[in-house]
Amino acid sequence: MSHAIALWSFRGFVYSSVKREFQAKYRTSLLGIVWMVLQPLALVSVYILVFSQIMGARLGGAEGRFAYGIYLCAGLLTWGLFAEVLGRTINVFVDNANLLKKLSFPRLCLPLIVLLGSLLNFSIIFGLFVLFLLASGNFPGWVFLGLLPVLFVQVLFSVGLGVILAVFNVFFRDVGQLFAIVLQFWFWLTPIVYPREVLPGWVSQWLVLNPMAALIESYQSVLVHARWPNWVELLPTFLLALLLCFLGLIWYRRHAPDMVDEL
């Protein structure tokens, strides 16, 4: 509770930090804010045009020329958010060592700034994707709202995991290095560029153990098939996310005092 109050009293700082971080990226360039749109636009176009149109990849069980492109975007964009939040949270204490050593302020502001910054980037690229869906007549309708709870679970999951690893990373910098590798494997072990159906049966069973698989498949279900997510399959991930957040808080409280000494 005390953490929440402290964070609330520093909301101004969190807000300006997110804003500043966002502006800093484009401030010294000529085109400025245009880059903010150009890069994601290029990415979305590549996925959709190259894979659907040029390579003519088709997705089993879904109609439409853009089905595979949309499938790809649904998984890649949300995975991108996950990877960004996790990757930056892991290094958040190490990167801000100087600030932590010299100033006394609620330290959980830092992961929050990371999260909000990543969500902002995500909303731009995802917004472009939604525009494409509307323009091409592939918008799923009311089912779209089903994305919100899924996104919420994903945020909980990545922040909880991120804070735990961030504390670890202060004491053992190996964690940051190791995680870059783990993330690679994790990406290919999640049905993002391929559908679950192409996997042999025995591998497919093990996907139950991958909490990200349930999340990504929910996004795909909404965006590609216009079906509500399978809430039951999401439940284990949700519980795990809650557990991680809870453990993260305990873990953080236990080691925060030592953290500054180690930085």
Partner: protein
């Protein structure tokens, strides 16, 4: 509001034999502790009442910075606790949270929010911050084009834009030009006068003595001494001069002040007396009276050279005047063992009204840091009274000649641009 207290404060860092030690300790709950504690601060207790100013001194590595971190809360104490009341501001490092690509004004907002101010408050205080920093148009330019002095000015202006109940100052102030140092220092002094509790870490004797009502000496992570700034400062200076060569003795004089005598003892001062123009020993002198300070020194062991240094200090221990016989070209080369040398120093007491003390030093050359035979604070004390001069204030008597006249307006303009009459005549 604005009190500070520490009880049994201690800080130890954990030292592991290897990095794996910590991992084992984390993951194996049944295992014994695999670290050793390295104590950098132990058993520090003190109280600072609201509005008081406490100075902390100590050599490098004595634990001053660690203590400040514990007090500000960036680092956690291993033992004991710190209690603070009121709004605390710390000037440990200036310019935290500045981003080089943003303008000074934008950075002021973030830096201000980082110390707990709201956006509204900052907007309200912005004109004052701008005025204090005196960086003009640079306020709206990116911080990366600032000189380091400008950054410090702006950072200081933000950090002190609102008077805190407790202000913690590290030696950060030794940055910036003389003008800004003076200005920032005045602000701290004003805060003190308005009731802010101050905690100042500095090596600068004048800072400690002119601002602080009490000083604390840290040595090897422990509280070595606490008391009057002058006494603690004298002890500290003696400690530096010593570096373990011999002992430092402090005695309480009849008037309750503490005299510090230190040195290796090859030569010692046996007597210090002040005589007036009639040759009578005195301890109360008139402003401007001709005096003779007589110092007798005995050589107890063979030494290459002997230099007598002395300084006259005011009530706060600040040096009003000081010199030595090395500077005057009167160093004694190869003084005889067992001989007593006499130094007669004649001067006029061109001092303001007040109490003064004389400190003597017997050394080998121009500094007491190389060979320090004896260093004696409060060797003799005397008071200056104003009997036959007109009233004046200050620490020096500078007899003026004041001319008063009347001029018409045209001449007034000319006079304002002309040189002063005496200077014009000289040129």
């Amino acid at each position: 509001m604005g009190t500070m207290s520490a009880r049994g404060l201690g800080k130890a860092y954990r030292q592991y034999a290897s990095r794996w030690g910590r991992l084992a300790e984390w993951l194996l709950p049944w295992g014994s502790a695999r670290h050793e504690l390295k104590w950098v601060l132990q058993d520090i207790s003190f109280e600072v009442a609201a509005g008081e100013a406490l100075g902390i001194i100590g050599m490098n590595g004595a634990g001053k910075s660690t203590l400040l971190k514990l007090i500000t809360g960036t680092s956690h104490a291993t033992t004991g606790e710190v209690r603070l009341t009121g709004r605390v501001a710390a000037l440990l490092e200036l310019g935290m949270g500045f981003h080089p690509d943003f303008t000074g004004r934008q950075n002021v907002f973030v830096a201000g929010q980082l110390i707990g101010l709201s956006g509204q408050e900052i907007a309200h205080l912005m004109p004052e911050i701008e005025a204090f920093a005196e960086i003009g148009d640079y306020m709206d330019m990116p911080v990366r084009v600032y000189s380091s002095g400008m950054q410090v000015r702006l950072a200081f202006a933000v950090a002190t834009c609102k008077r805190p109940d407790v202000l913690i100052v590290d030696e950060a102030l030794s940055v910036g030009d003389a003008y800004f140092q003076h200005k920032s220092f005045n602000r701290i002094r004003e805060f003190g006068q308005q009731g802010t509790t101050l905690l100042i870490v500095s090596h600068d004797k004048t800072v400690i003595q002119s601002i602080c009502s009490r000083a604390m000496l840290l040595a090897d992570g422990r509280l070595a001494m606490q008391g009057e700034p002058e006494m603690v400062m004298d002890y500290y200076n003696a400690l530096i001069a010593e570096q373990g060569q011999s002992t430092v003795v402090q005695e309480t004089l009849a008037d309750g002040r503490v005299q510090t005598v230190s040195g290796t003892g090859e030569a010692v001062v046996t007597q210090v007396t002040i005589f007036n123009s009639k040759g009578q020993p005195v301890d109360v002198v008139r402003v401007g009276e001709p005096l003779v300070l007589r110092v007798m020194a005995k050589v107890r062991a063979p030494i290459e050279s002997l230099v007598l240094g002395y300084s006259i200090k005011d009530r706060l221990g600040q040096v009003i005047y000081g010199t030595n016989t090395w500077h005057t070209g009167q160093a004694l080369v190869g003084p005889k063992v067992g001989a007593i040398y006499v130094f007669n120093i004649a001067f006029d007491a061109n001092l303001g009204v007040g109490n003064y003390s004389v400190q003597t030093a017997l050394v080998a050359s121009d500094t007491h840091l190389s060979s320090n035979y004896e260093w004696r604070d409060l060797a003799v004390v005397f008071s200056v009274v104003n009997v036959d001069k007109f009233a004046f204030v200050g620490s020096s008597w500078m007899q003026p000649v004041i001319e008063v006249g009347q001029v018409d307006e045209v001449n007034a303009v000319n006079l304002a641009t002309d040189r002063a009459p005496s200077q014009a005549g000289a040129l």
